[in-house]
Every structure is written in C-alpha cells, then in structure tokens.
Amino acid sequence: MKSEQQYIELFEQCRQMLSSHSCEVMDSLRDEAFTTFQRLGLPNRKVERYKYTDAQEAFAPNYGLNLNRLDIPVNPYDVFKCDVPNMSTLLYFIVNDAFHSKELPKYQPEEGVIITSLKDAATRYPELVMKYYGQIAKKAETPLSTTPEGQYVDGEFIPMHKNNEPDAITALNTMLTQDGLFIYLPKNTVQDKTIQVINILTSKVDLMVNRRVLMVLEEGAQAKVLFCDHAMDDVNFLTTQVVEVFAAKGSSLELYELEETHVKNKRFSNLYVQQHEESKVTLNSLTLHNGYTRNMTYVGLVGEQAEVNLYGGVIADKKQHVDNHTLVDHQVPKCISNELYKYVLDEEAVGAFAGRILVRQEAQQTESQETNANLCATKTAHMYTQPMLEIYADDVKCNHGATVGQLNEAALFYMRQRGISLEEAKLLLKFAFVGEVIDKVDLEPLRDRLHYLVEKRFRGELNKCTGCKLCK
C-alpha cells in the first residue's frame, strides 16, 4: 500500500468528525484539497521538489490524530517560565495544533490587533479569514501565464514551470487541519512588542499534527513574530504546517522561526508569503535541533519595490535531516530579494538546499542575490545544494552561488599554535560560520540568545529538548 492510502481512508471515514470540530471557513476547502491530494499522492524522490526528502517514507508509519479535539492537559507556563531575557514579548502557546487560550499574555497587543485561534477567528470574522485562508498558497500554485511555458533545446521542448503544481503536503494539511493561529494587524498598526508563539508537541502516543497559521498585515502595518518549535515527549511526531502570510502595501514583517525538537520529530512546513508594493519581509529560520525536517518557503513578490530577506541556519549531526526548499517569485519590476542559507553538518547528518529565484519577463530591474554555504565537518555528512536562477527579464542584477567545504586546516593549526585545543578551535570555526546568519537577526536580545544557544548546541549540551531553551 502506498503511504497516501491511509490518509485517504482516514479522510473518508472521518470527514464528519473533521467538520464537527472545526469551522465552516476551514471546511470549505477540504473537499477540493482532498481531490488534489488524491490526484498527487505523497511525493517520493522522483518528484523534483522532493528530490532530497522522501515524503512517501516519512508519512508511511501509522500516527494517531486528535481529530476529536480531546483536551490535552498541560500548563505551558509550568515548563516555560520566562521570556527571552531582556525581551518582553506577547507570549502565546499552541499545544500540538490547538491555540492555548487558557494562558494569554499579560500584555495586550496594540489596538485592533487580533491574535487568536484560527478556528475562533474564522467563526467570529468569517469574511476576513475567508478572504485569505488558502488563497495565498493557491496563488503560489497558479501556472505562470505570462512567461514561456517551456523552451526548445536542440529542437526538443523542455517544459519550465511544472514546479508550480499544487503541493501535496499543503493539500494534506488543508484536508486535515482543524485549528492553528490567526494574526491580524489593521492598517498602519505598529505592533511594537514581539509576538512570540511557542509550538509545543506533547503526546503519550505517536502523533500527527496538522497546524495552520494565517497572518495578515494590512497596509503599513508592522510586526515581529517569533515561532519556537518544541517537542516535549519521547514519542514519534509528524507535523505538517502551512503558514500563509499576506503583506499589504508598505507593511513590514520580521518572522523568526526556531526549531528545537528531537530526533523523533518529522516536520513538513510550507510557508507562503505574498508581498505587495513596498512591503518588506525578513524570514530567518534556524534549525537548532531536529529529526527530519523539510521547510518549503514560497515568496511571491506581486507589488513593485517589495523587498524580501530570507535567511536560514542549520546545525545538524547524528542522522538528522534538514531540507530547505525556497522559491522567490519576482512577478513585477523593482523588487529586491536576498537569500543566505548556511549549514553545519556533523557526523552522518544530511542537508539539502534548493533555492530557486524566478524573475519573470515583466520583473525588470530586479535585484536578487542568493548564497548557500555549507560546512561538512565529517566525511560521512552529506550536503546537496541546488541554487537556481531563472531569468526571463533582461534588465536585472542577479547572482547566486553555493559552496561546500570542510573546516579550514590552516585556521585550525593557527589557533592550536596559540594554545586553543583542536576541539575548541573546531567549535570556534563552526560557531563563526553559522554566526553570519544569526547576525542578521535585528532583535538584539534574540540575537544574543541565539548565539548562546548555538554555542551550547555545538558543545553538545542541547542533545535533547528539555523544554524551551529560549526561556530557561
């Protein structure tokens, strides 16, 4: 039996249960998503986009789901005592896929700002949520109509944009998700305090979680959001997550994601961002400790002079697997994109990076830069990298590059001559390497904390998740 079969059967058997514990807006896309999922199935490595991460294999085991929405007794504050030091945040919790409304932050968000359960928001403001829910992801899947659908090479037609098919994991998430998070910022609202969301995975048995996040920033709104992913129990977790971000004209968003789970966690996260004119979005993700991770990021630049910065840091050892797949879609003129991903792989870790920058014919005066640099500290660590630049406009400034290297022997010896042990010297080099990504974090207390956590990680002191390291 192929892995998708159990999810198809599950959906058919539990269709009613899914609905009765969700809401109309989320329900409205289920059947269409189901049809898509049935057609696509779960991707194996033959699917170009999933070349480095086999979803067939990852989704094969039998996980439990909490479709009946049984209340999971947990007091997150028992585990998470405080915030990032020197940074007071608006702190929210999501337990598995449920917004934890029992514990709300002591501060209020700015007037008009909504931060709540997606299910509740969709019930209370159906029109608002309906306008965006599933739409940003769908927009990313629209075939490219104005650029050539392919090209002739030696008389043979090579299709170009088959990648813009819908994504099977997104379809699966839309089929099964029942709740998650909704963030809304009205026009010209500046949310000064950082919104921090702690995702906690907790269960006594192997569990599949389908979390959904929708963020809407209206014209001129500004926000900083920090997601921290944690897995608390020693069971197998499988998470699908779809995050949709709508950034209206002139809005600004800094979105930080920190994964610090354990080796039994599988994470499939798809992030879709739609940016309108003069909006500025910075995405910074750090995989500090994990099991099997695939992060897909799609950024659609649909308004002129929009700017996106995509940064990613990965630290992996043991048999950890981290795959970052990005697509920046320059649809209109005068947009800027910067991308920097750095990996440090140790032991038998596997890293993959596929970064596609698409500059459509209309997108003149695009400025785009993409760098992926990787360090394999052992001979048994593997890195696959695939920077892709696809340009159909003729007046653009773009560059891309990738490197895979080992620790610099000359630098190691230089440090040893000064009395630094080989182990410590290696650590300093790794720390410096990934430090470049962390230095891109604008929030100073968070930046300091991340430097500290990365150092601890390299020293082997973060081998398993023992609660939110950000908050201890």
Binding site: Y414, R416, Q417, G419, I420, S421, L428, E436
Partner: protein, 250 residues
C-alpha cells in the same frame, strides 16, 4: 631552554631537515639565515608541531620535556610562540574571542582561574599599546581585512598577550615598511624578559639591527653549515651565501 639533536623531518615523504643540531640557552636570541628552500620554515613548523611535517629521526628537548610528544596547543602552553610568515584570516571569529580562548586555555593548563571579561579587556588594552594596534582592528575578525603590516603587528600583539618564553619569528620582517618594522621590533624588545629566548628567521640584516642576535646560523640543504656571532649576518648581507657554499665544498 631548547636542545635539538640530529633532527630529520620530511613533508609529503620528501626529507627537508637532514640532521639539525641546535642549542638555545635562556635569554639568547638566535638568527637563522639561509636561502629559500634551505629548511628554515620547516624547522620552525616542526618546533610548533605542524601536522603536515613528519619527524623521522632525532629529538627536541624543551625545558626538560620531550617536545615531540606534545600536541601543538600543549607546546603553546609550555611557552612556545610562533609569529607566522603568513598569518591566517579567520572570518567570523573576533580577535577578542580568539585571544580570550587562547589566554584562558593556557591559564587552565597552568591550573589558574580563567580571566573575567573585565580583566581580560584591561590586559588587551595594555598590550595593544605596545604594538600600536588600533582598537578597531582588535574588534574585527582575526586578521580579516588586515594589511600585511597590520597582520605582522597583530602577531606581536598576540605574543604580548601570551607571554611566551620562546618565540619564533618566521620572516616577521617580510612585507613591512621601515616604520612598521621598527614598531614590531620595538614591541618585541619591550616584551623580552631576561630569560626569554627567540629564534629569528630572516633574509635581511635590517631586522637584526633592531633585535641584536647573540648567535647567527646559516642553514643549507637541511643542515646548519655555519654558526657565528652577529658579524656573520653582516657578512651575508654583503656577500650573499655563495662563499659559504664554496667553503663547504672546498
């Protein structure tokens, strides 16, 4: 302080040092001269334990210890310092973190408590003055974007921080203008204590004018072929090496 006996060493299977005998006493400065490829840098790299070089024969005793049995970092803790011919750039590692790691590693080896951040920065400020190293450089990544002269000055600054008892200056004068040379040499002289010894590798008399070696050796084809006083360096400056070769062949 240092006693080298019948030292043979090779790199990639090729023998470079072919029986070096050399004794350096406490407080002495020795100059090592010789043409390119004679084995001068090989000798200094073997002394600091560079992993690319293999010692095939002979012994090195440093203050009573078998130096060849020690790791490079342990040799540093024992008091050996080398000013690199080409200092390495280490992007992302700040001078402050680098030096603090080095100083505290040595303190740990000696059974001393690590320095607090405040104590450390105070020492750094003091030592920086000795080589007139700009504060901006101290805040940058190790050697990154430094000019040739700044890199050499930074080597002497590190020497000041680590207070070695035996320093190897491997062509520290190369790439330095006259002013920078004076600053580096003055810095070195200020740091010298009564029992500090040094081995200075150079092609030119210029540096030796400042450092005033006690003994000068000429290295040829992996062996020390001539040893003399400071006047030997002057003679080489005037006449080159050919006359020494001729002397040996005769």
């Amino acid at each position: 302080m240092l006693e080298i006996k019948d030292l043979h060493a090779s790199i990639n299977g090729k023998e470079i040092l072919k029986g070096i005998n050399l004794t350096i006493k406490d407080g002495e400065v020795h100059a090592l001269m010789g043409q390119n490829g004679a084995g001068k840098s090989t000798l200094s790299n073997v002394l600091v334990g560079h992993p690319a070089y293999e010692v095939t024969q002979g012994s090195i005793i440093f203050n009573g210890k078998d130096l060849l049995a020690l790791k490079p970092e342990e040799r540093a803790h024992e008091g050996i310092f080398m000013s690199f011919q080409t200092p390495v750039e280490i992007p992302g590692v700040s001078m402050v973190n680098f030096m603090r790691a080095a100083v505290n590693a040595k303190r740990k080896y000696l059974g001393e408590e690590p320095l607090t951040a405040g104590e450390f920065l105070k020492i750094m400020r003091e030592k920086r003055k000795i080589v007139e190293l700009d504060n901006k450089l101290a805040n940058r990544s190790v050697n990154e974007g430094f000019s040739g002269g700044e890199k050499k000055r930074n080597e002497i600054f590190q020497m000041a921080m680590l207070e070695p008892t035996f320093a190897i200056l491997d062509e520290t004068d190369s790439g330095l203008d006259v002013d920078a040379l004076r600053i580096v040499a003055d810095g070195f002289n200020k740091l010298r204590k009564e029992n500090t010894s040094a081995m200075v590798i150079t092609h030119y008399q210029r540096l030796l004018d400042y450092l005033k070696p006690d003994i000068v050796h000429v290295l040829l084809n992996g062996k020390i072929v001539k040893t003399g006083g400071p006047e030997l360096a002057l003679e080489i400056e005037n006449r080159g090496f050919d006359w020494i070769k001729a002397e040996i062949e005769a």
